[in-house]
């Protein structure tokens, strides 16, 4: 398998607005690839399009399968974990139920999860809607990791979190990336610099730069690609 994920000429239009106008990039197996770009440029939409959550055209290859015609659940079952931008935990369900839903088989790695996030075990029966943002993010990441799947799509995991938590989650992602491929959307450049091996930059609905994470050391390039939105 050459690449964990391959996207070719991906196009998405929502309510008359042509958000993705032909996005093409590859995500090599293993490690973290960061998807970067200014606010509103279509990073989240790209992840959702890969999963088939928005109508799209083009070609999408996930773990060597052509999935453009597939329904979302089938794509996910290939082994794709998803950590959405707004966490999207089910607030009416308990922590335990949220995790149970994510189970795809008997090999769910609850031990690993509870080791990483002991709070989830303590609060197993608590309604997810009553948890703090950080705790909800734990659920969101935990359920993506639960099955040990080979590909993770992670959308701004540090958004709205205190710096200490950001660092903790970065640790977690680092661990995950040892055994899986991660496509990470992230505005926080320090996290990106720490975790990512490769980067893909979006602008105006297409890819404007692909390269290694070291390119982020070039301040001028960063300003050009990301404007002043790059958080150091």
């Amino acid at each position: 398998m050459k690449s964990a994920l391959k996207v070719t000429d991906l196009q998405v239009a929502i309510e008359g607005s042509h958000i993705l106008q032909g996005v093409t990039f590859e995500v090599p197996v293993g490690g973290v690839t960061a998807l970067l770009g200014r606010n509103g440029v279509g990073k989240t939409t790209t992840l959702r399009a890969i999963l088939g959550l928005v109508p799209r055209s083009g070609a999408v290859q996930v773990l060597d399968h052509d999935v453009i015609e597939w329904p979302t659940f089938k794509i996910v079952r290939l082994g794709v974990g998803y950590v959405p931008e707004d966490r999207d935990v089910f607030s009416a369900l308990s922590v335990e139920e949220n995790l149970r839903l994510a189970e795809s088989g008997p090999d769910a790695r609850y031990n690993d999860i509870y080791q990483l996030f002991p709070e989830l075990k303590e609060r197993a029966r608590q309604r997810a809607g009553t948890l703090s943002g950080g705790q909800q993010q734990m659920i969101s990441i935990a359920r993506a990791m639960l099955n040990g799947w080979p590909l993770l799509l992670v959308d701004e995991p540090s958004k709205g979190l205190a710096p200490r938590l950001v660092s903790e989650f970065a640790d977690v992602l680092e661990r995950v990336a040892q055994h899986a491929t991660v496509l990470l959307v992230e505005q926080n450049l320090s996290v990106v610099k720490r975790l990512a091996k490769d980067i893909v930059v979006l602008d105006h609905g297409t890819v404007v730069h692909t390269g290694s994470a070291r390119d982020l050391g070039d301040a001028q390039l960063v300003r050009q690609l990301l404007g002043v939105a790059g958080v150091a």
Partner: protein
């Protein structure tokens, strides 16, 4: 006192039937965003199924046995009708929510038309065991046995539904799906199966509601237009209770049942309004909408 007791009791019985009719609607809307007009049809078909079974089976089974079979037939009939509807008519229209609503309207119209053709607007009578027609003396009030039946069945369904939603995997899937369908898919779960299941469960309860309504409030008579008139109240209960909430439906069903019965008792006959109960319910709806548009226990849509 005895008047108070019997009115309260019949109010609860009415509430039980409304709950049966409304909870399925509420779940279907909560999970699938569909205003299921065919729900009235499921109620009517359930009642007819109950009638058909009781009438065509040998009477040697005995009246209570036949009635029990009627109940089973009503539940199965409603479930079957709902299942067929979902698979044949709702699924092909996935992604077209307005079309889904319209198709349920068309189905309702077409099949009721068929029933009207077959039965005319005449009613058929469901055979019921004697004790159902009788009443039991509680204190100084005579409480109709049918009301006991309705309340018992309503409670049984409420508890079963709660158990299902809380203790089974599909129940959890449905609860999650009502909140966020996309995310459920993004966890690798085929929500389509949950759709069919929800329709079938809703249909089963609707069938039961239709049969009970005929027996409790319609003198054991079943007619083609019955389900649709009950449907209106089911809609009102769903909106007042909050779309997608079972507990909201239960609470709202009780309230609506009470309001209807009490206003009929205390205000009926005034200024020529024979059915002021119905009007009061609509007024209640208007009030709830002004004060709390998302219903008593609804989440923001």
């Amino acid at each position: 006192m005895s008047v108070f007791l019997s009115i309260t009791f019949s109010g609860v019985a009415l509430g039980a039937i409304y709950f049966l009719a409304a909870s399925g609607l509420s779940l279907i809307y909560g999970l699938m965003d569909i205003l299921n007009f065919a729900h009235g049809l499921f109620m009517t078909l359930g009642a007819y199924a109950g009638w058909a079974v009781a009438v065509h089976l040998p009477s040697s089974i005995g009246a209570p046995g036949l009635f029990a079979l009627s109940v089973v037939a009503a539940v199965l009939g409603g479930a079957l009708a709902a299942g067929i509807t979902e698979v044949l008519f709702i699924r092909p229209l996935y992604g077209r929510p307005v079309s889904q609503i319209l198709v349920t309207i068309g189905l309702d119209l077409a099949v009721v038309g068929l029933l009207l053709g077959g039965f005319g607007s005449n009613s058929v009578r469901i055979p019921v065991p004697l004790w159902l027609i009788e009443a039991t003396k509680v204190g100084s009030a005579n409480l109709p046995n049918v009301d006991f039946l309705a309340i018992a069945l309503g409670l049984a369904v409420l508890f079963s539904l709660e158990w299902f939603l809380r203790r089974t995997r599909y129940g959890i899937i449905i609860r999650a799906g009502v909140e966020n369908r996309d995310m459920v898919s993004a966890l690798g779960i085929d929500v389509g199966k949950a759709f069919t299941l929800v329709f079938v469960i809703g249909g089963a309860m609707a069938g039961l509601a239709g049969l009970l309504y005929a027996v409790v409030f319609s003198g054991d008579l079943v007619s083609p237009l019955q389900g649709d008139s009950l449907l209106i109240f089911a809609f009102i209960v769903v909106v007042i209770g909050g779309l997608g909430s079972i507990r909201g439906s239960a609470l709202a069903a009780l309230i609506v049942g009470f309001v209807q019965d009490y206003t009929n008792l205390y205000l009926g006959g005034h200024s020529g309004f024979a059915e002021v109960g119905n009007l009061s319910v609509v007024l209640l709806l208007a009030l709830v909408l002004e004060w709390r548009p998302r219903g008593l226990m609804g989440s923001v849509a």
